[in-house]
């Protein structure tokens, strides 16, 4: 979907179009694959927290406080692909 198409969807609060786009992006043009990729990323994130490992919450709060929402949104997309790659089940052809 083009950016103009997405902007129109945002203006109209057309959530179906927007989430479909995200799925297509994550699934390299395959909506179902994208849905599976989203699930995969969250499952990988969950796995890493299940045994109460120490995490750097200060880093998290600092990032949220100090970085722009745009940077955090960009990071959100990065983290998706990062955890998909960490899953070992990489459906994409290329490299991040």
């Amino acid at each position: 979907m083009s950016r103009e198409y997405l902007k129109k969807a945002i203006a109209e609060d057309d959530k179906e179009k927007l989430i479909r786009y995200v799925r297509l992006h994550f699934g390299d043009g395959n909506e179902q694959a994208g849905t599976d990729e989203i699930d995969k990323a969250w499952i990988e994130a969950l796995k890493r927290l299940i045994d109460f490992p120490p995490t750097n919450r200060k880093f998290i709060f600092d990032a949220i406080e100090q970085q722009s929402e745009e940077t955090l949104a960009h990071l959100f997309f990065h983290l998706h692909f990062y955890f998909v790659q960490k899953s070992g089940d990489w459906i994409h052809d290329g490299n991040l």
Binding site: M1, R3, D28
Partner: protein, 182 residues
């Protein structure tokens, strides 16, 4: 990067019927329909063509440039932003004398198995050097160019990235530029 300035439908009004799909123009009939279904409004459709310039000197005296959508870049340069939802509109300069093993690919949207083994299948930097050395062209530009083809704003691509790369080739004093998709 062939685009039209006039009579261009807005992105949101484009649909499959506006994408050229005649079999005489399309080597894989239906391909654009599939792409447009997956990424509505992302295809560039040109009603007008810019005529290709005529060579004013022998090819063997020309300085040849190369640009590709392959996402090939020098190791150590900032990776292309392959996660961004609307694309990366930057380009990378690749010095034309860069050893092939000093290149890497950052792109998710095409099969890279072959290119990971031999980058020349998408970015024929070694073959271009050999062709220049053989005198088919006079020389290569000092830098070759690369960007990623995942851009969800064709108009922005046309007016920024395409213009930036054209300016760069002007500075390189390229006589001829070979542009390749990936």
């Amino acid at each position: 990067m062939e685009t039209s300035e006039s009579n261009q439908p807005s992105d949101e009004t484009r649909d499959n019927s506006e994408i050229p799909s005649s079999s005489e123009k399309q080597l894989r009939p239906g391909l654009w329909d599939v792409v447009n279904e997956r990424y509505p409004g992302s295809m560039i459709h040109n009603d007008d063509f810019v005529s290709m310039a005529t060579l004013d000197k022998p090819l063997g005296e020309c300085r040849l440039g190369f640009v590709s959508t392959s996402g090939v870049q020098s190791i150590g340069s900032m990776p292309f932003d392959v996660v961004h939802p609307v694309g990366d509109y930057t380009f990378r300069r690749v010095p034309s004398d860069t050893p092939a093993d000093q290149l890497e690919i950052h792109q998710l949207k095409y099969p890279t198995d072959g290119a990971n083994r031999d980058v020349n299948v998408v970015y024929p930097i070694e073959r271009l050097r050999e062709i220049a050395a053989a005198g088919v062209v006079g020389e290569l530009t000092g830098n070759l160019y690369s960007f990623i083809g995942y851009n969800m704003d064709p108009r922005h691509l046309e007016r920024t990235l395409a213009e930036d790369i054209a300016d760069a080739f002007e500075e390189e004093q390229a006589d001829v530029v070979l542009a390749a998709p990936a």
